[in-house]
């Protein structure tokens, strides 16, 4: 019953793209947010994957140190993509930032908890050699990585599913929304809604993506027996991922048909799912042929395409309102003046960011070596 009403509501909320009067700057920032999200998902994606694999592939302390140090110098910079994404969302679409972050209060707090625990378990694990000390941080590292992956997946599911923002018919004036329905829901009501079957399905899917991505990354960074074990995990994760991909696609098309809106409007964008399928198919091919670097690139491309499709599923909306008018890139954006200033900041800053991100990855290229300064 509840499911049926949700289905109808989401179908109704699929409003025509043409009806939304957006301008170039708003589109630019929608795209740039997408770019930041792609960057973050690819980079921190393998960090999470490594975290999820950590207790399973590493049998000895030495091997576990290898897995941790494969992301050791990089995870911090990778996380900055998330911070910048958050800052850019705040700046470009403050209304969305405010509504979403406060509506998903408890899941966000759990996410923060997971990110902090992950950071400190990486940092503190190596400080003492006692087995119990390291074991504790190993499991915290695993648990927090898995929790973060689950919550990110659930967030995507919720974005597709939408939020009950206000009673139907009440217009969203300059992005302002009424939050009466959310305010009436208790903490547990909200959690039950936000962690219902569809977001959880997306969460499992996300875990398989990161697991696959991380295991290919570890395969690239390790040697010997450890590498062989990673390889087995690549296959396991790949099949889990492929199965979940099919399940999630079918579930989405049935439960939330509005996701194809943009594809109907701009048919040439079908190229993205097509390329995505090729990238997915290339992963087992490359692994089989012993070219893990290609597998990794394909895995990156897969993630990029999935985030792109996620953006397409939303566009031009940012928050789907199951009860009324959606929050779009037009009615929630900052002023054009601010968007222009930010575009200048991004244009000046991003080349530097890419240059020194490249420099750091170059410095730490190759197989993991444990040195005096490793974790």
């Amino acid at each position: 019953m509840e499911f049926a009403s949700l289905l109808i509501a989401s179908a109704e909320s699929a409003q025509g793209i043409a009806a939304v009067d957006w301008n170039f700057l708003q589109l630019l920032w929608f795209v740039l947010l997408g770019v930041l999200l792609i960057g973050y998902t690819i980079l921190d994606g393998f960090d999470f994957g490594v975290g999820i694999l950590h207790p399973f592939v590493g049998k000895t302390d030495y091997e576990r140190r290898i897995t941790i140090n494969s992301i050791g110098p990089l995870w911090d910079g990778n996380e900055v993509w998330l911070i910048t994404f958050g800052g850019a969302l705040f700046a470009a679409f403050p209304e969305v930032y405010a509504t979403v972050f406060s509506a998903f209060y408890v899941p966000f707090m759990l996410l923060l908890l997971a990110l902090i625990l992950r950071a400190v378990s990486l940092e503190f694990r190596s400080k003492f050699e006692a087995g119990s000390w390291r074991g504790l941080w190993d499991y915290l590292f695993f648990g927090s990585s898995a929790l973060a992956a689950i919550l990110f997946g659930a967030a995507v599911g919720n974005a597709i599913m939408g939020l009950p923002l206000e009673a139907a018919g009440e217009p969203v004036a300059s992005g302002r929304v009424s939050l009466d329905i959310l305010r009436e829901m208790t903490m547990l009501d909200k959690l039950a809604y936000q962690l219902s079957w569809y977001p959880l399905l997306c969460a499992v899917f996300t875990v398989t993506i990161f697991g696959m991505h991380g295991s290919i990354y570890l395969y690239l960074k390790t040697e010997g027996e450890l590498q062989e074990r990673c390889k087995r995990w690549v296959w396991r994760w790949f099949f889990a991922f492929a199965a979940m991909y099919v399940v999630v696609t079918i579930a989405t098309l049935i439960a939330h048909p509005h996701v194809t809106g943009a594809l109907t409007e701009f048919p040439f964008l079908w190229i993205i799912p097509a390329l995505n399928a090729l990238a997915v198919a290339n992963i087992p091919r490359a692994m089989y042929k012993g070219r893990p670097a290609y597998a990794f690139i394909s895995s990156c491309a897969t993630i990029a395409a999935l985030v792109f499709l996620f953006g397409m599923a939303l566009f031009p909306n940012l928050v789907i309102n199951t009860e009324g008018v959606n929050m779009t890139i037009a009615n929630t954006a900052s002023s054009d003046h601010t968007l222009t200033i930010m575009a200048i900041i991004a244009a000046v800053g991003m080349p530097f960011v890419l240059a020194y991100t490249g420099a750091v990855y170059w410095t730490f290229r190759g197989k993991v070596e444990l040195g005096k300064f490793s974790y």
Binding site: V80, T84, V106, L113, I116, S334, V353, T363, K367, E369
Partner: protein
């Protein structure tokens, strides 16, 4: 019920920001000192400076990691806990935050990797460059966050339209009335903390008679930094307080415990000590210097122009007094202690007796707590003194829903029947803290998150201290250790992998060498056998 949520959110914000602020001032101050140590090493080639740089980098990294982890919370919290605030300021505040992400965070975290893990990966020049960039990054991030915070205190460069503040003049937002004063104040506070941190650890070693070469290298540099910064603090602080007088007289009244407006001709006293009685609106057992506040502001002991007591404001528009009064006085008092301690230190250093004065070394060991308290106290005074507003009343153009634009003043001055002036804030250009929290967040959610953070920080803080203590007990590396590490780095040029690898690495080394050989035809991106100086050049080109 709504009041409770706001109080809970305020408690959570206070907890998370105060915890976070244990780390940034340390990394800003220590970062500058690391640049000095490593720069001196590059110039003089004396190994002891490299030992110093390597040691402080380790302590820096531990603190930086906790700073980053706790900093993520801060950024998300504007949206989770303070949604209506985010709606009001997003257009203005957001650009500063985005700039911080793009200019500062990427710089810091990217080069931090090279700084911490790169000693045996890159050449000395590239490493120094990374140290410089990390230090610069941490300074940049202080710039943008202070811009945002100063805008809340003294908003400028915006207009109010669509029920929110929107940018009109970006540079007027950046250089609002209090940015420069507050930024320099924060930097000085950070420098004092960084220098006292170094002094404290060195004094500990000196008491144990350990690592004396290291101590005698670090102490003079840190002491000079601490001395100069401590002397600058009151000079700059005076300028800063004058800024508060100009822009936020109610806050100054709270700092000084000025419940009653001083009478013209009598001058305003400078309160040195007292007990705040908020029920009866007075300071008890007060010790004050008559006329000194007037003198500091107007260079005239009797002039009181513009000095306002809290009696000129309605009760609902007044900041609380006790917290700002005590924290402000704590900060100023500690500032005087820093001057005393560093002057004594300079004197003993000059007489060559510093390392023999055991009592004074103990003072230095413990003195590091002072700058921590002073930094926190100063911020508490600044933020609580801004209450009950989250965005302070300000002059701005206001566009109504029907499109009419009016120029509004932040405060309107009227005269009451008994002839005293009365200031009324402009509710249209300002935002009260009471109205700024998230409306969709319920009490139980706020309690849940507050408990999470309390538990987490109560675990994190001891762990941080524990690890820091462990690194301090181990002490700096010896000259031989550093030489061995460098020799190993140089050997890698010839032998390939893992010459520096630790226990159990021999097997891996053999494997990796075979692996390296196999990989060679593939294009060599997998072989770090490349000359360290080549790495250096490559990276430079990329930058």
């Amino acid at each position: 019920m709504e009041l409770d949520v706001v109080q809970l959110q305020r408690m959570q914000f206070a907890l998370t920001i105060m915890f976070h602020y244990l780390f940034p001032p340390l990394t800003i101050g220590l970062g500058v000192l690391m640049v000095v140590f490593e720069g001196t090493y590059l110039k003089t080639k004396k190994p002891i400076y490299e030992i110093a740089a390597r040691f402080w980098t380790k302590l820096f990294a531990v603190s930086f990691a906790v700073g980053v982890a706790s900093g993520i919370v801060m950024e998300f919290q504007f949206g989770t806990g303070w949604a209506d605030y985010s709606r009001f300021v997003g257009d203005v505040f957001g650009s500063a935050l985005a700039a911080e992400g793009i200019f500062a965070f990427f710089l810091e975290s990217g080069f931090l990797a090279v700084l911490v893990f790169g000693w045996d990966r890159v050449g000395p020049k590239m490493h120094f460059f990374s140290t410089l960039m990390v230090s610069l990054g941490s300074i940049f991030s202080s710039v943008w966050i202070i811009v945002a915070n100063s805008w809340q205190q003294t908003p400028a460069g915006h207009h109010i339209i669509n029920g929110r503040a929107e940018v009109v003049d970006f540079w007027a937002v950046v250089f609002n009335h209090s940015t420069i004063a507050r930024l320099t104040h924060v930097w000085i506070g950070a420098m004092i903390l960084g220098a006292f941190f170094v002094l404290s650890i060195c004094a500990w070693y000196a008491l144990k008679r350990k690592h004396m070469t290291f101590v005698k290298t670090c102490v003079p540099i840190a002491l000079v930094f601490a001395f100069v910064a401590s002397l600058l603090a009151p000079i700059q602080g005076h300028y800063q307080a004058h800024n508060v007088y100009e822009n936020q007289p109610a806050k100054l009244a709270a700092f000084e415990g000025l419940y009653t407006t001083p009478k013209e001709g009598e001058g305003a006293a400078l309160s040195l000590f007292g007990i705040v009685n908020e029920d009866e609106n007075k300071i008890e057992a007060e010790i004050a210097i008559p006329g000194l506040l007037s003198f500091l502001i107007h260079q005239d002991f009797s002039k009181t122009e513009g000095i306002r007591g809290l009696d000129q404001y309605d009760e609902v528009d007044r900041p609380p007094v006790a917290i700002p009064y005590y924290t402000y006085h704590t900060m100023v008092g500690l500032g005087m202690v820093f001057i005393l301690v560093t002057s004594l230190g300079m004197f003993f250093l000059w007489r060559g007796k510093l390392y023999d004065k055991r009592w004074f070394l103990w003072v230095l060991v413990l003195a590091v707590i002072g700058p921590y308290i002073a930094n926190q106290a100063g911020w508490v005074a600044a933020e609580v003194g801004r209450q009950p507003f989250i965005v302070y009343p300000n002059d701005a153009n206001y566009t109504a829903d029907n499109g009419t634009v009016t120029a509004e003043a932040g405060w309107t001055e009227t005269t009451t029947e008994d002839g005293t002036p009365r200031l009324t804030p402009n509710e249209r250009t300002s935002l009260r803290t009471q109205d700024a929290a998230s409306k969709s967040v319920r009490e139980e959610e706020a309690i849940f998150s507050l408990i999470i953070f309390i538990i987490m920080y109560f675990i994190l803080f001891p762990v941080w201290l524990f690890v820091l203590n462990d690194k301090i007990q181990r002490g700096p590396e010896s000259e031989e250790e550093v030489a061995a590490a460098k020799k190993a780095r140089d050997e890698r040029k010839g032998t390939g992998f893992a010459a520096t690898a630790v226990a159990g690495a021999d097997k891996a080394k053999a494997q990796s060498m075979t692996q390296a050989k196999q990989d060679k035809p593939a294009g060599g991106s997998d072989q770090p056998a490349a000359d360290a100086t080549d790495d250096n050049d490559d990276v430079k080109e990329d930058v």
